[in-house]
Subunit: 135 residues, 2 copies
């Protein structure tokens, strides 16, 4: 496993972050993860910050952000170009709020559906469809 005080090997990193080694290399190619320096030889070492970064990517993906958008979100990290960062954050905030609205509608409909599952037998119109339809 090659896990020493110098940091995690790519294998250990992948395991820690819950992704495949190839995925890490893929993210590096995409610029989502920095290509780490190789202070101690030709094998790359990774740290906790890298693990957090991958977990962030995965979380953001589950929320429907594309890798490209996530790349944008991650540039907010550096603190520089504050004006652009703010704009990006505002756009994303709008996205997130729209998603929240949809999900809340979805939640209430699903909850209702579960609740009165037995009561409604021959209902023809789908309450789920109706819920998202009412936009």
């Amino acid at each position: 496993m090659l896990a020493t005080a110098r940091g995690l090997s790519i294998g250990a990193f992948g395991a820690a972050a819950g992704v495949n080694v190839e995925t890490i290399r893929f993210y590096q190619r995409k610029g989502l993860l920095p290509e780490p320096g190789r202070a101690y030889g030709t094998i790359r070492r990774y740290g906790e910050a890298d693990v957090a970064r991958v977990r962030f990517i995965k979380s953001a993906q589950r929320l429907g952000f594309s890798l490209e958008e996530i790349g944008g979100l991650l540039t907010l990290e550096d603190g520089r170009h504050c004006a652009e960062a703010r704009t990006l954050a505002e756009q994303k905030l709008d996205d997130v709020r729209a998603k929240l609205d949809d999900l809340r509608r979805m939640e209430s409909v699903l909850a209702e559906l579960v609740e009165r599952c037995d009561a409604s037998r021959g209902t023809v119109t789908c309450p789920l469809i109706a819920a998202l339809h009412a936009h």
Copy 2:
């Protein structure tokens, strides 16, 4: 455009639902949309229910559901197999609530980020990463 009282042509349907004609045919192949009967000739006609269905698919996709999952959600529509439907709905409800949690965290972080954009200049750690990291 061939839009008559008999219903919408596939082109009009696509326009009404905000998707490409090819997408409609694709959904039909996938079984997400019923292949309509051809009561009046060889050209298929569509109605409002179809439009609602496509809009539902698009909404659900924005929430991160795959077409396969959406297929599952759409089977809840028919009201039959109530036990299975209930189980499916419950699983989806869990999914939706997990997504809501993530998004709410994301929202607060983004909102905060926008707010104190000017204040935090040289902050090194990314509050966004921290927010989703804290799971």
